[in-house]
Assembly symmetry: C2
Homo-oligomer: 752 residues x 2
């Protein structure tokens, strides 16, 4: 369906009936554009609305002239069905009345779903990856795509492909965890499904892989520097990109980091030599929000905003994301006589217009509110969310206390009535309109009078411990305590923002519980009340010896709108937990790194063998450092995974196991396959690396055979940016986690 | 002086009267060698002796055939004057009776001085650098050289040039601290002085710069992997090498680390492209002890010891240090038909023989015991040690309690009768034969009856806190407590080895005090007894809020034989402390990195500005992380360092300050000059970097002008391994530490 004026406009440009490719149409349009119009395409009006909703006319006017290629919604607490008519009016006006009738493209974040209220709130990425349920993830990605599309979002700032190797880093909740293979698989599927084509051959929602590259910065600090090294980059940080780029994402966002001392927004080597050259990426390269101006204000590598803009453009940046002031690319207006700049701007705008044509913006109408209303929060989507909320929860410890339906429960801790879903979740954490709290869920399940809620301590303040005694009294009275403790991650607009301790801008030198939460927990445990500890937050926590006294420990990560109800289903046994950690939990704040795929020498050369004991004063003990590492998670049933068999034929390794539910209840197990070459390969290879996984649903007593096929190419690693596959012996292991004690091994010889 | 048989031997080889260069003489000799003799030159008999001393004949026989290029002494508790006649006999026998009369060269570690007992025990390197007294360091290096030379050590495994950027790393006590400039200056001077030539033009003692590259490994683990990245390497880790290589060190030792996934013992890129190619090093490249066999056993990059040896040789290793079994290079004996191997072995042996000729081994007699006896521990050396012990101690806090000569003192803590000088100090930590303990020093100064010593707790065990009450009672009784607490670093032969928590093989996930030492300190402080806390150990410690209640805190690092007496001189005010930290003290175990020369973006992008508060949950606060950073240290007097003036002329920046002693007693102040370019330089430059320092001795009231000249070349930094010096504005600061509040700034414009 097209508006008549769009048809007219396109006809006027000779583009209406074109059967040309999006790129050819973009080329034709580019020729008609002024210098100013081109530069404007490279910028954005990220916050179209004010709370109300109403259009922020002042912001619009200020930015329109030189930064109107893309628009975003702004405040996430606006309800989309209220906002959509306003947004559509702005969209239509641009198409109808601008000189060349070039539509805005709407670009938003997309972590838990829509980045404006009114859509289904799915779990954040870390919880999604913890499901290890790849078919479910794909279905949810399709659901998010349909919700985004229904409100006219044709371009999302997802998926993130950073690997969570730095436990202090505050954005781990936004990521798919610490494993490069898992992240690559999730990222690849995300791009493939989001960029699915409609019946007219248009990309539904363009994707942005990000943040190129990120996640290992000094001290875990958000915008801090990272190390480079070509082998490390290719074998670790770039692996998810190499995989996701197979799905041809429309765009890529550079990170805030300096890599090998050069900020990514000006890192010509990483953008041109590596990304364009070695990885063959040809889409739009965009900044992160403010990352170009950071070159002047934070990294101090530019002498002015204008200098920053020129350096960024010359390094390869083609679009500026600038939520705050000032935008930097508008300064390019003064470089009209610079031929290199003109050429780079033409290349950038060509790439940007190509996305607008490829997503059908020139050919389709703006979205109608009724379709949006029918699409958003449809029951199928809510059912998917429910499934993900259930499977993204990880049971870390259970002495047998669970499952249990207690008669009475004391719900303790400052998160009892909060929704802690992440800093890109479009929710108001303290407003029940946005979802059900654990308190509400428990009351539904157990009856209102059987649940006593005592928040007891503040999220962050350490000044008032007077509530702890009440909490202990309530626990004793009920005889069963559920503590929900953790680290708050909410959007910047949230009324609780000043209590936030997790998410972007945060780095955790302390991986314990903020405020007086540990004291609350200690007091309840001292009272010897049976206790279930629920952790909430998008981060690993250090579980000290006191904490480990809890009878059961559950990590709910950053969930979705049905996570609290799923927690109650798990406590009471209606749901059997099946999530697995995708980020390892360190034993000490400083026992880092804690990721499972360290190098053999990382755990060697220490004193334990000489001294006969281990302590924190003579670390290393990487191998022992995380008793709850990647891939770990418990169930209410038990599984037996057989010793794998392996066969190499026709260029593929075939690994087969039989997995049996040996317990009394139905459950799901994640069969994980790891490998490493057992031969001389020219560089250090991790002790083991995930190469396949499958989540298997089994009734009590049931068993299934599972087979994995691994093309020999996937056994390769990169030496100097070149993929090398080596003949020889390989070790494979299959099992239920990355822990040695949970794996059984088999060897196979690979020939080429 | 030459033995007749040496002359005869050399004459037989046509080398006796040669005026040829060492290299030409080596070439001539090489031609006469068999395959087996060549391979033997590349190996060592590291432990010639057993405790007694007596020659370890079994070890000698086992190794002699294929690894006899170098020898070492073995057990450090042998007394050198007893051992020397035995060693000389072995040396003479080799010269006299081996086929080609090629002398052994004696190679030893050299940290605190000799690596066998009987020499002067100077402070370890971290304490030496903390003196910031460069002339003193040079004099001490010359003293160590004379002591080494007097016992026939012609080759030392020093200086280390690793930068101490990883506070958990256990070998920090062996290093010159965290600053690349300071490390480069100390390393350069060390090589220059050690390799000073005698009257015949022979190098006195050949040096080994090490560990190429090291010190930033994952988790602080001794042999763990490190990241690469050409800009990071050249601007940080390689800077000390670039400086030290100007003094033409005879040898270089690779590190245990993998750099960018490739173990250094097989890292052809780092050895050939970087070290040989870019840095122009042409000396011997040796392994670290066992680092080649580690390729098979630890890093698992080799399929056998033989494979490891071949890979190492082909990457560029020319000599194997192998204290234990097995040595790997002897396997090369089987590669006689491999032309590449033969060529590489010839190059290696040529390099090795060149050192033997260059150090005069073919021309000089073995050392005589009488000269050694006159050289070792001569009073001039002991006076230098005394000075270094005094100036290497750092006063971290003083509320006015010091200086004081208390009538009575309670000396508390497990280090009261120990000597904690480092794992390469040839001392028995618990035997008064090797030096004076703090207990003994205090008794000398205050009278035996006025010092009550209560060790109170074990160095490491946490089982028995029963001594704490006695300690508190003693403190109350005395009215003045001196606690000496820390982390033990002793050689492997030490009886206390199993109590070690610091030094090689150690990594500190916990930077607090081992065992129950913190509890002891807390109890004494709770009792409100005036308390002086003395820290001992070659590491930064986290000083928690309880610790900071101490009235005075002194870090004595890993000292030398007069450190305990110097501590008493400082407590009583006979000596005014003048040491400055060369490694920053983190605020939390996990508040890392803590080094002062972080990048601007490392402390940016966090939440504090948005939230209005800082906590460990929303780090970054690198800038605030270390209130006791590099360059920090207190005095009993006060100094005023004027705002610097700056002038640029003839290619040099001239910085001038006036420093005045504004207090009541004489003292020494370290004037430190930092800089950074204030222009666009293509990469991130640290917030500030040390570029000059000078230690100034001032009477009370006295003032002096200090001028520093800095050639513009030193303002450069490396982009892609190329030195770039940029025109433009530069910021300079001068002051008494790296803290912002201790610095005053000036700008200067540099033209080229």
């Amino acid at each position: 369906m097209k508006f008549q004026y769009v048809l007219t406009a396109l006809a006027g440009l000779g583009l209406a009936e074109s059967k040309s490719s999006p790129r050819d149409r973009a080329k034709a349009l580019l020729k008609k554009m002024t210098w100013e119009e081109k530069i404007a395409q490279m910028g954005s009006i990220r916050r179209l609305l004010k709370l109300g909703p109403e259009v922020d006319e002042e912001n619009f006017e200020k930015r329109y002239q030189l930064q109107h290629g893309t628009i975003g919604f702004g405040p996430m607490f606006n309800w989309i069905l209220d906002a959509l008519p306003l947004v559509n009016k702005v969209r239509e006006n641009e198409i109808k009345n601008s000189r060349l009738h070039i539509p805005f493209i709407t670009v938003t974040d997309s972590v838990n779903g829509l980045f404006i209220s009114g859509g289904t709130v799915f779990p954040s990425n870390l919880a999604m990856s913890s499901t290890f349920n790849f078919p479910l993830f794909k279905n949810i990605t399709a659901a998010i795509r349909e919700e985004q599309l229904s409100i006219g979002v044709n371009w999302v700032l997802s998926p993130p492909l950073d690997i969570a190797w730095e436990p202090r880093y505050g954005r781990i909740g936004e990521l798919y965890g610490e494993d490069a293979y898992l992240t690559g698989e999730f990222g690849h599927a995300y791009v493939q499904i989001m960029q699915d084509k409609d019946k007219d051959g248009n990309i539904k929602v363009a994707c942005t892989v990000k943040h190129f590259v990120y996640g290992e910065s000094r001290g875990g600090v958000n915008t801090a520097s990272q190390y480079g090294g070509i082998n490390h980059l290719f074998n670790d940080q770039l692996r998810p990109y190499i995989r996701a780029l197979e799905a041809d994402p429309a765009a890529l966002m550079v990170s805030y980091a300096s890599v090998d001392l050069i900020p990514m927004s000006m890192n010509e080597y990483m953008i041109q030599d590596i990304l364009r050259g070695k990885l063959g990426f040809h889409g739009v390269v965009m900044s992160d929000a403010g990352s170009i101006s950071n070159m002047y204000t934070q990294s101090r590598v530019a002498t002015s905003y204008a200098d920053a803009g020129l350096q960024a453009l010359k390094a390869g940046l083609q679009m500026e994301l600038s939520p705050g002031n000032p935008a930097v690319f508008p300064n390019l207006i003064n470089s009209v006589k610079d031929k290199q700049v003109a050429r780079l701007i033409d290349e950038a705008v060509l790439n940007l217009l190509t996305i607008k044509f490829a997503t059908g913006l020139f050919d389709n109408d703006v979205p109608d509110v009724e379709t949006a209303n029918n699409t958003l929060r449809q029951s199928a989507h809510l059912e998917l969310a429910r499934e993900a909320c259930r499977e993204g929860i990880v049971l870390l410890k259970n002495d047998g206390i669970l499952p249990q339906t207690p008669k009475k429960v004391a719900l303790l801790g400052p998160f009892g009535e909060l929704l802690n879903f992440g800093s890109y979740a479009a929710i108001n954490a303290s407003n029940p309109k946005w979802g059900e709290s654990l308190h509400a869920s428990l009351k539904s399940a157990l009856g209102e009078k059987n649940v006593k809620f005592v928040p007891a301590v503040d999220l962050l303040a350490t000044t008032d411990d007077s509530g702890i005694a009440d909490a202990v009294a309530a626990a004793k009275e009920a005889g069963f305590a559920v503590l929900v403790l953790g680290s708050l991650s909410v959007p910047m607009e949230d009324p609780l923002f000043k209590k936030r301790t997790d998410g972007e801008f945060f780095a955790h030198a302390d991986l314990g519980l903020p405020g007086l939460q540990q004291q609350l927990l200690d007091a309840v445990l001292d009272a010897k009340v049976p206790t279930v500890l629920i952790l909430t937050g998008g981060q690993p926590f250090v579980l000290n010896n006191s904490t480990l006294r809890s009878n059961a420990i559950i990590h709910s990560l950053l969930g979705g709108e049905l996570t609290n109800s799923a927690l109650v289903e798990i406590i009471t046994g209606k749901v059997n937990p099946s999530g697995k950690l995708t980020v390892s939990m360190p034993q000490l704040d400083s026992a880092m790194p804690a990721f499972y795929d360290y190098l053999p020498s990382d755990d060697a050369g220490g004193s334990p063998d000489r001294l006969g004991f281990r302590s924190a004063y003579q670390w290393p003990m990487l191998q022992k450092a995380s008793p709850m590492p990647f891939g770990f998670g418990l169930s209410y049933t038990t599984f037996d995974i057989s010793t794998p068999t392996a066969e190499y034929k026709k260029g593929e390794v075939h690994i087969r196991v039989t997995v049996k539910n040996t317990g009394q209840v139905a459950g799901k197990e994640v069969v994980q396959v790891y490998h490493r070459p057992n031969t001389s390969v020219g560089l250090e290879f991790p002790v083991r690396r995930l190469i396949r996984f499958d989540k298997v649903n089994l009734e009590a007593g049931e068993s299934k055979d599972v087979e994995f096929s691994i093309p020999n190419k996937e056994l390769g690693y990169y030496v100097n940016a070149r993929l090398v596959v080596h003949e020889g012996l390989y070790n494979f292991w299959a099992g239920s986690s990355s822990r040695v004690e949970d794996l059984k091994g088999v060897n196979v010889t690979v020939t080429l």
